[in-house]
């Protein structure tokens, strides 16, 4: 069953790499943000996969379960707890980014990163 864990871990790494590629190569800002959120999700999936225990049970004590047996056979609860927090963090940053994109789209009329987020230091330096 260890292969399952390895497969999940590899998937998380693949998500991170896809996210990095899309961050560099995609010009559309919405697609770029979708790609970037892959990195966050990859990290979350990685931490979930750590909590996996080969042959373990869900970390919920069912009625009639022996406590000492449960303690050695339940999956690790800490990574799951951490991931719930970090999912919310990822969602919040995503919301703020998309809100900024909405306002900027109204201003520029385009979603292209090279137009919207180009160098601004020259224009603002000496405007009359």
């Amino acid at each position: 069953m260890a292969q399952t864990q390895l497969a999940i871990l590899f998937t998380s790494a693949a998500l991170v790499v896809i996210g990095l590629y899309s961050a560099i190569f995609i010009d559309n800002i919405i697609k770029k943000i979708i790609g970037i959120s892959f990195i966050e999700e990859g990290a979350n999936l990685f931490i979930v996969a750590i909590g996996y225990k080969p042959g373990g049970v869900v970390p919920i004590l069912m009625p009639g379960m022996d406590t000492s047996w449960f303690a050695t056979n339940a999956a690790y609860p800490l990574p799951f707890g951490l991931v719930l927090t970090s999912i919310v963090i990822g969602a919040s940053t995503l919301a703020v980014m998309l809100a900024l994109v909405m306002v900027l789209y109204r201003r520029y009329g385009t979603l292209s990163t090279s137009v919207m987020l180009a160098d601004t230091s020259k224009q603002e330096e000496y405007d009359e």
Partner: protein
């Protein structure tokens, strides 16, 4: 005379750096200071390699000095590379990430 022309060209190129708008002499002298500062400090930082190998440090310092001095003005190039566009910032961020991780993972024990 050639060096004089070269330095004159450098000052002319600084002019582009500050356009639009006038170029004051404080700005130009600041840029020249930055130019000298960046050459000297990079060469000086290259000297730190002597803790790895003295020969390497000497070689790198010499080559770096020659390359930097023959490529003046450096500041406009540096400034273009570090402007505010997202593409360049992302590019450098990802390159740095890849270099750090690769270097540490495959060669972290060599240091």
């Amino acid at each position: 005379m050639k060096l004089y022309d070269q330095i004159f060209n450098v000052v002319k190129q600084f002019k582009k750096l500050f356009s639009p708008g006038p170029v004051t002499n404080a700005d130009v002298s600041g840029s020249i200071t930055a130019e000298i500062f960046i050459i000297v400090s990079l060469v000086l930082a290259a000297l730190l390699l002597r803790h790895v190998s003295v020969l390497l440090a000497g070689l790198v310092t010499l080559i770096l000095a020659v390359v930097l001095i023959s490529n003046i003005p450096l500041i406009p190039k540096f400034k273009i590379e570090q402007e505010d566009s997202l593409e360049k910032m992302l590019f450098y961020a990802v390159i740095t990430l890849a270099i750090i991780v690769t270097f540490i993972y495959w060669g972290g024990n060599l240091v």
